[in-house]
């Protein structure tokens, strides 16, 4: 969930009133936001770097507000204020308009075919006669950063470049070139570098190094030039220094290059709808033309208003309220979804503005109506759905056996399903290839290399962590292991196991054997060769030679028991003899 940091007093001035922290928190709650933290720059620096560093930093109060991940229109002060003011019916949602260039010649961005392999899409627009102040300028930069981190997926899907239009001249060319053929002075540097040099320069940059991987291994890097060969930007890494904007910039050229065109359009729409407020003619955006390699020409920004018609009945039935069509239309209008009742049968025409890219289905509109109505004003009801409950037979058996194993004097452990290869192989005297383990491709540590194929390592690790407890230690666990299995759609399946260990000064085979007898008694399997159960000597590298047996039930091997091999005991950092029992429970369903 993105967090937006705004200056409190600036926010209150824009909202036209003051709130106590509690009042503002309450307003956020209603609107689906969360006032996460009240702090200041000074507080933040002092917390992260110590009081000394914080000296002299600003102590202006900041509100940190959590915004839902799909509401890109609330990622800056301008958007938050607009959303809240419309919600509180203090203003009407503005209408965003695309206008032609006064000169009659729109700015043009030409995409060449070389971009196809690395970053094939681009969109552009112009904010004309804008007036920045220090606060507005900072918000403009911050919004780009928030969009980069969220909808742009850390610049992989979309990268934004904003330029002082008065320092460059179109038409602009978006192309791709070999890194050594690109040469320019990047933002905030005083000399020229080739793209290859830049990539090594930014290897150590705490911010930019995270984006290098996006194009690093490509033969051609994306690059945008103006008509005089000046570099605007090398997306998605860095802009040129020449065209950088400042608080004094009057005309802003915005380009978004992308691997996902839909997202690029959304990002462009967000920037221009949020900041066209500060243009000489508020909420107007000057168009720009994008020319594709095939000659196709598209005008941006789209600023598309879409309409959806739905009935008040649909909203009422889904939410569980009974509001008139007029009232529903009013609720929606408060959510920046301008709505009017059309016809006599309660149909509502809803207009979805370019800021609300999150609204993609009638159900999104229904949610907004419910939010404006207030979730906590909806009457709670009980569904009449009549059903009979059933337990999953495997879980039912598990629950019943757990109780009786505890009654037999064994204590339940709860161990991790993920572990290291070593735990299920080397330490148990086995080879990893002998196990049917599934492997994880991206573990951050060795603890998460594989899913367990047996519950035994978890129980032995539990013993090791509790060596200070009085002996004997008697533990059990009934849970799932994971095994590769060609017959399932994913190639693996769970297997429900019962595992128990007895840890004491003597191995206690008879104790663990007695537990087996008790379990079989509970499962209504009698001792006996044919239709009953019996144990038979077996060799297993996890067990002490001559002290291991396989368990047969209904003439199938269902598990094993025995005294653990001293190497296994040492491997798990234990010091006493230990006997173990391991049964596949799925045979007894």
């Amino acid at each position: 969930m993105p967090t937006v940091s705004v200056k409190r007093d600036l926010l209150f001035r824009a909202l036209g009133r003051k709130y106590t922290d509690e009042e503002f928190d309450e307003l956020c709650f209603e609107f689906g936001l969360e006032l996460d933290e009240i702090t200041s720059e000074k507080d933040i620096i002092s917390r992260e770097q110590g009081d000394q560093k914080a000296e002299g930093a600003s102590d202006v109060i900041l509100y940190k507000i959590d915004v839902p991940a799909n509401r890109y229109d609330l990622l800056c002060l301008e958007g938050l204020v607009r959303g809240l003011q419309v919600f509180k019916q203090k203003m009407e949602a503005p209408r965003y308009r695309r206008v032609s260039a006064e000169s009659g010649e729109p700015q043009r961005l030409i995409i060449t075919e070389e971009t196809a392999g690395v970053r094939p899409h681009a969109v552009a627009a112009v904010l004309r006669n804008i007036t920045f102040t220090q606060n507005r300028y900072e918000s403009f930069i911050e919004l780009q950063e928030k969009l980069h981190q969220n909808v742009c997926r850390k610049r992989t899907l979309v990268a934004i470049g904003t330029h002082d239009l008065d320092t460059i001249s179109g038409p602009f060319t978006f192309t791709a070139k070999a890194p050594d053929d690109i040469r320019f002075t990047p933002l905030n540097q005083s000399q020229e570098y080739t793209a290859t040099q830049l990539m090594s320069l930014y290897k150590t940059d705490s911010h930019l190094r995270h984006y290098l991987h996006i194009i690093e291994d490509e033969p051609l890097y994306p690059i945008i030039y103006d008509s005089n060969g000046i570099v605007l930007s090398m997306p998605p890494i860095i802009n040129g220094d020449h065209s950088k904007i400042s608080v004094n910039t009057k005309n802003v050229f915005i380009e978004c290059t992308a691997t996902d065109l839909t997202k690029a359009k959304i990002v462009l729409d967000m920037i221009v709808t949020m900041f066209s407020e500060y243009c000489a003619e508020p909420f107007t955006v000057e168009e720009a033309e994008v020319v594709y390699p095939d000659g196709r020409m598209v005008t941006y920004p789209e600023l598309a208003y879409r309409t959806e018609t739905l009935s008040a009945d649909y909203i009422n039935r889904r939410v569980g309220i009974s509001e008139s069509a007029d009232s529903v239309a009013q609720l929606l209008t408060r959510m920046c979804l301008k709505s009017e009742v059309v016809g006599d049968d309660g149909q509502i025409l809803v207009e979805i503005p370019p800021t609300r890219s999150d609204v993609i289905h009638a159900c999104d509109i229904m949610e907004d109506a419910a939010m404006a109505y207030g979730f906590n004003n909806i009457t709670m009801t009980t569904p009449r759905t009549y059903t009979i409950a059933n337990q999953l037979p495997l879980n039912k058996l598990t629950e019943l056996l757990r109780m009786d194993l505890a009654a037999a004097g064994f204590t339940e452990a709860l161990t991790f399903a993920l572990c290291s290869q070593e735990d299920i192989a080397d330490k148990l005297g086995k080879k990893i290839t002998e196990t049917r383990a599934v492997h994880i491709s991206n573990p951050k540590t060795a603890e998460f290399q594989v899913a367990r194929t047996t519950l035994l390592p978890g129980l032995l690790k539990t013993l090791a962590a509790n060596r200070k407890m009085p002996l004997p230690l008697k533990l059990f666990e009934i849970s799932d292991v994971v095994l590769k299995d060609e017959t399932t759609d994913v190639g693996a399946r769970n297997n429900r196991r019962l595992c128990a260990v007895y840890y004491n000064k003597s191995p206690g085979f008879e104790v663990i054997h007695g537990l087996l007898d008790r379990v079989m008694q509970l499962l209504e399997v009698r001792p006996g060769r044919k239709r009953g159960y019996y144990i038979q000597a077996a060799e297993d590298s996890s067990f002490f030679p001559g002290r291991c047996a396989e368990i047969y039930a209904h003439e199938k091997v269902v598990g094993r028991l025995g005294v653990l091999h001293p190497d296994v005991i040492n491997g798990f950092e234990l010091t006493m003899p230990c006997s173990a029992l391991d049964i596949d429970l799925e045979h007894f369903l």
Partner: protein
């Protein structure tokens, strides 16, 4: 046990006196050491309330070795006086007597004797009085006879200075009759025996009292794990509410069922390597319901069912990637798809409680695996009010009555609501779960009827358990680092109290 003769003599003594008796005073009467009297007191105490004895200490004057000698033989000065005949004694001879030096100067200062230095034959000592009174000896004899109280404090201190007396602290018992006082001793039995029951002899016996202050002996028992006890209770709640358990015993899931079927786009951050464990072996899932997969692909990339879709290039390669499921909702999706394949739709209520996995940063409250509790109701015409009503009933069974709901975002539910409950201890609203109505883009491609809604909610099992059992670090609860003593000591789980 002290010998019963002594015990009975002591009891007879206690019977005779009015009020009580000091054990010190019994020493003379019984003719034994004080230590033996104390032993007898303790033995009697163990017999129940035969006597009452309270310990006390008293200060007491005693003769030193020299003091004892003086009380028998007289003070040094008296001995010097007595040694001098009528005709006197040469000083040199007098000094050779054992008491000579000390006695000479004392007798001189008492003016009992005089020294004639000019006597022929050397200095000679003569008596100056006819007879003397040896007060030191008399005082010491008083102390010896236990009558030190007749001396003044000043006199005693002077004798103490002369190292003839010393003050000692004596511990003794003040003995009075107990509730069951008797001068004869009956031996107390420790336990009732089968023989006593058979013979009826228990009627005549006295039994040693139990110490009810002590703890009992811990029973030799096994224990259930607290998290599993809480799981049992949640299962019970769902069963009471008529919910059927879903088969969640498949930790490995395809991205298709975990994400795509839930209308979670392929660029969604949750599908990042940083958040999800992907499998290298088996890396890919092979089988999907083909026509359903096509419908999922279409709703993502182009929209449909009244949706704009996400408008991106949906790839089967991404959907095939196997992973450790990040939520049990993957199973809910499989169950809903299965339900949609029934010839005729029937309403259902489903639940599950099982493990899910996240490739997250670990801390005191987050592990790479945890248990998710999930419930869903599938029926025609369910409303947001129904969802809130079901949540209210569910949380009532957990003892939570004050709920409120916050709008939230979740890719596969719309509306989405975070559930908050008022925490009386913390005096604030805390998040207790997430809920929502499944999106049509998820349900309609499965083939469920258009009017059917699915309301669902979820929460973790660990968090309520940690609150219930007051555990701050999740590692103490889940995994092998668990403290078994905590497991042994954990109470039964009643979530509503």
């Amino acid at each position: 046990m002290a010998d019963s003769g002594l015990l009975e003599s002591l009891l007879r003594l206690v019977e005779k006196v009015d009020g009580g008796l000091d054990s010190q005073d019994a020493v003379g009467e019984l003719g034994v050491e004080h230590q033996a009297v104390v032993g007898a007191v303790k033995s009697l105490q163990a017999l129940g309330e035969v006597i009452e004895a309270t310990q006390r200490s008293s200060k007491h004057w005693e003769l030193t070795g020299e003091g004892r000698e003086i009380s028998e033989q007289g003070s040094h000065e008296a001995r010097v006086f007595n040694a001098i005949p009528e005709e006197g004694l040469p000083q040199s001879q007098l000094m050779k007597l054992p008491s000579g030096k000390v006695g000479f100067s004392k007798a001189m200062s008492n003016k009992w004797i005089r020294l004639d230095k000019a006597h022929e034959g050397g200095p000679r000592v003569f008596r100056t009085v006819e007879s003397i009174e040896d007060t030191v000896r008399e005082k010491l004899q008083l102390v010896k006879n236990g009558k030190s109280s007749q001396l003044e404090e000043k006199e005693k201190n002077e004798l103490k200075k002369r190292k003839l007396l010393s003050e000692v602290t004596i511990k003794s018992y003040w003995i009075t009759k107990g509730r069951n006082f008797s001068t004869t001793i009956t031996k107390q039995e420790t336990e009732l025996t089968p023989e006593m029951i058979a013979s009826g002899s228990w009627r005549d016996k006295k039994f040693k009292p139990y110490n009810f202050e002590a703890m009992g002996v811990a029973p030799d028992s096994g224990h259930l794990h607290p998290l599993m006890k809480v799981r049992t209770q949640f299962r019970q709640i769902f069963l009471e509410m008529g919910f059927t358990e879903m088969p969640t015993n498949n930790f490995i899931e395809s991205s298709f069922w975990n994400f795509d079927s839930l209308f979670q786009p392929q660029q969604h951050p949750a599908r990042d390597q940083h958040d999800t464990f992907f499998m290298s072996d088996p890396a890919l899932a092979r089988e999907f319901p083909q026509d359903y997969l096509e419908r999922v692909k279409k709703v993502h990339s182009e929209g449909g069912y009244g949706s704009q879709g996400y408008k991106y290039d949906w790839k089967i390669e991404e959907a095939q990637k196997n992973l450790l499921r990040t939520h049990t909702t993957a199973v809910s999706a499989r169950m809903l798809y299965k339900l949609a394949q029934q010839e005729k739709f029937t309403p259902v209520k489903y639940f599950s409680i099982d493990r899910v996995f996240r490739n997250e940063t670990l801390d005191a409250t987050h592990l790479a695996e945890f248990h998710q509790i999930e419930g869903l109701v599938v029926d025609y015409g369910l409303t947001l009010g129904d969802l809130m009503g079901v949540l209210h009933q569910f949380f009532m069974k957990l003892g939570i009555t004050k709920l409120r709901f916050k709008p939230a975002y979740n890719p596969y539910t719309e509306p989405s609501m975070e559930v908050f409950s008022y925490h009386e201890g913390l005096k604030k609203w805390v998040e207790v779960g997430n809920s929502g109505v499944f999106r049509p883009e998820m349900l309609l491609p499965m083939g469920l009827p258009e009017d059917v809604s699915v309301i669902a909610w979820g929460l973790s099992l660990e968090r309520p358990t940690m609150i219930k059992y007051g555990i701050n670090n999740i590692r103490e609860l889940v995994g092998h680092k668990v403290n078994l003593q905590m497991v042994y000591d954990s109470p039964v789980c009643r979530l509503d109290s």
